[in-house]
Symmetry: C2
Subunit: 512 residues, 2 copies
């Protein structure tokens, strides 16, 4: 079990040469949209039981607090308004919405190369959240997050292969006006990355301004509507079982503006959902089904991501925890519900309760990320950089998560079993009169890039080599990588003419 | 998505009181032997294809280098000795061994409370390996491992709920004589823990001495044979497809001495097995099936763990890597092969390539540990403390892994779906005229210990609390915990009279 003795021979030189060649996308061992689904925490019977319970909750409990416009939309398709002001959803109405709903969604990037196709078990990882702090890694401090931090996060994401989308992970707390904050959030994210961006809007009215901005970026409304590269992360419910009145109005405006919607139900097990994992999933499912009815009443087939995001709670203290095993189970079960409905869906993974990128951060982020991926979750939100149970975002952790998620994606990819990979012929050649080992064989060399995933910053040196190169520190490597990325001009910055138009129309806080 | 605002009310006081009560074993949310198996990386068809390939390898390639005694045992049951000196295994002979083989194995602890029942999808985590270095965490150095380090590791394991067995994780390099090293390894481990111990023997003859020692510890041969608390981790093959002649003789002596055997095939994908995951699993399976025929030829039904331990290799350098996604897949696939045969089995998880307990260590160790558990692997070896691709062992990392494995075990436990956990009644009460939240309800409080797993050292404080308590460092907490454990007298030390007898018969290096 000690380090393999390798022959210093032609095989090694060949490997070196092969390694030096750039890896084309087709040859990479992992990519966005790999198919998960080999892990299913729930049995089919359990899935159906949860579905039935969700339907019963919708029929008998229903949801309160829909805005008048929502009541109008939903009652029109058969939802019942009770004397208690709650909307109750007959099974047939839910079934009709499930029929109408978009079963495949393309989330566009500003660059089509980054388009994400959400369907089946295709897995994508990205950022998300509303952290209020940045983790200042040098000082080991938590400080208010700024619009520059947000832009930098987008720029970093743009360079990381395994971060597939950039949902706004933190709040620009240096912009006190909510409208300006929302618009600058759009600007900071979209000018930092060519990848798909997700964001929220505080008030319904802001959506119109945001659409103006997006039309400018896209080069007109038609171009925007053809390829909407920003989606609305919408907390349309206040669990348990109440619509978030204003967020619903935001949602209607986004739908009308051609913006895909993430129907986000963010309950907390033991506080705003039942404490049991099954109960939390039932409630999140019921709430998202209500949202699905709503969206399809407004506009049948409008792209809406089924966003069951139940979170864990530390029942001892009542504080949120996102890094637990229970969290990984919650999101894994949700992925199965999405598949049951045949709907593109998302949930959370990758959150840690740790304050810094330490060993705990590693194990917590990996557990939920890999389980979500193996469950075939289409969108793994909050997958990178999220510390302190979502309160803090860390650029260095984001960078390290590119390795972590690459590792998870390699697992999602799974195992190919073919005559070639079974390798009986090779085994025969090697064992019967052959060299007695597989080093440097053509078959081994051919697999070096296509089958194996290599970490960018993760360390694989021997202890001896490690000491010789000065015992590199993982976090220090991430800091250096961050500085290198941020020292370059962001590739995604807008064309100067477009940028000038934007700056003439909006108060953009980032320097030009 | 920010920290939950909790009401400072009676509910909190009740939670506090409930938390103060000690948690009995029945109420713990996790325990050894939880049932995994909801993750299956291979389809049933792929499993059968791998089985067929393994059978073909055994029939057509076979294994070289069996000792004369082994040839005698195996040819007696129908294995064919070829002119090329290789033993080839007809399908019927393999089938007969599969029939005879032990389908359930109890690995005894010195204390029956720690007995492990290996069958089905029951999952256990523990240490293993042959690290040659200790990670000196203070100095960030790798230094030679000693018998005291080994004893301390066993003592630490004895206190950790989620380390279920103690296979010798490192080599006592301060004992140059191999016989003395082997015997002192047995002594250092068994005097440090009441849990089941696994170890290796360098030469066949040493087994007799070890059995003498074990009889003394047990209180006689009969007592030893009734409850063998040490098993033999046996590298009976030198992959590809060669018996390890001496190790086979060790194995025969262990079988005759009543010691359970781990049939350990430790190939490296791309070096001593094909580079493909499927090929590596085929070869490991073939080798372990050969071992199974061997064991059951010597003594039908003798407890033998199916130890397919294929390792990953970094094909760019030819160096071993144990922390990759490929490694997690290898072990997960092996678990399915064990279930296919209905045999108790083990493989590796939890290894990291990182040199220190950093974020990389966390994500690498979690990935393979949780996937192995979800696959229902009976014995997850090397699950804790193993750094630098198995070259270094770290006590602090071992301690932190208790949290990491607890987290993985919570995931293995999965989700209970019952009328009670679906919680529709609760949802109804809370939403329809109730408080509108689930905090402090009887149902929530009742689940606090039984459903939720809490970290011992993992941090869940808010950034504010964290700053107030001095920004505790995870590794520093592990160091303090280690010092606290090692400051106490080991509970597992032998009765002084027994110890005196042992010391009279053997040169024991540890101080009395």
């Amino acid at each position: 079990m000690t380090q393999m003795q390798t022959r210093r021979s032609g095989g090694r030189a060949a490997r070196r040469a092969s390694r030096a060649a750039p890896v084309t996308d087709e040859l990479r061992s992992i990519r966005p949209g790999m198919e998960g689904g080999r892990y299913g925490v729930l049995t089919q019977e359990q899935i159906e039981t949860i579905h039935e319970a969700a339907i019963e909750a919708l029929e008998t409990i229903g949801l309160a607090d829909a805005p008048p416009s929502g009541i109008e939309h939903m009652t029109r398709v058969g939802v019942k308004l009770g004397d208690d002001g709650r909307l109750r959803f007959p099974r047939a109405v839910v079934d009709a919405a499930l029929q109408q709903a978009a079963k495949e969604i393309t989330l566009c990037g500003r660059d089509p190369r980054h388009d994400l196709l959400l369907k089946g078990n295709r897995v994508h990882y990205g950022t998300a959240g509303a952290a209020v702090s940045m983790v200042d890694i040098d000082g080991q401090n938590y400080r208010d997050s700024t619009v520059q931090d947000l832009h930098d996060a987008a720029r970093i994401c743009d360079t990381l292969d395994n971060i597939h989308f950039v949902q706004r992970p933190m709040v620009a707390r240096d912009i006190p006006d909510n409208r300006e904050m929302d618009l600058n959030t759009v600007y900071a994210c979209t000018s930092g990355t060519f990848k798909h961006v997700g964001t929220s809007f505080t008030e319904p009215d802001y959506v119109h301004s945001a659409l103006e901005l997006l039309h400018l970026i896209a080069g007109g409304e038609e171009a925007w509507r053809a390829r909407p590269f920003v989606s609305n992360s919408n907390c349309f419910v206040v669990p348990p079982m109440k619509f978030a009145t204003e967020a619903c109005q935001v949602m209607e405006n986004c739908i009308n503006g051609g913006m895909p919607v993430l129907l986000l139900s963010a309950g907390m097990a033991g506080a705003t959902t039942p404490s049991t994992i099954a109960g939390a999933v039932v409630q999140a499912t019921a709430e998202c089904l209500a949202g699905l009815v709503y969206v399809n009443a407004v506009k049948p087939g409008h792209p809406a991501i089924f966003g069951t995001w139940p979170f864990g709670l530390d029942l001892r203290t009542g504080a949120m925890t996102g890094g637990s095993g229970e969290q990984a189970l919650l999101s894994s079960a949700c992925a199965q519900m999405h598949h049951f409905y045949g709907l593109p869906g998302g949930a959370v993974g990758g959150i840690t309760d740790a304050k810094l990128p330490d060993m705990q951060a590693g194990w917590e982020a990996m557990c939920s990320n890999v389980m979500a991926g193996l469950s075939g979750l289409n969108m793994v939100y909050e997958a990178a950089g999220m510390h302190a149970s979502l309160l803090g975002f860390c650029h260095e952790s984001l960078i390290l998560s590119d390795d972590l998620i690459g590792h998870a994606l390699r697992c999602v990819r799974g195992i190919e079993v073919t005559d070639e990979t079974l390798a009986l012929d090779q085994m025969r050649q090697v064992c019967l009169g052959g060299p007695g080992h597989y080093l440097g064989t053509d078959q081994t060399l051919a697999r070096m890039q296509s089958d194996y995933q290599y970490p960018a910053l993760g360390d694989r040196t021997s202890p001896k080599e490690w000491a010789e190169i000065g015992k590199p520190n993982l976090v220090a490597k991430a800091i250096a990588r961050k500085e290198e990325i941020l020292s370059r001009r962001a590739a995604a910055r807008f064309d100067p003419e477009v940028d000038a138009k934007i700056r003439a129309a909006f108060n953009i806080h980032l320097p030009a």
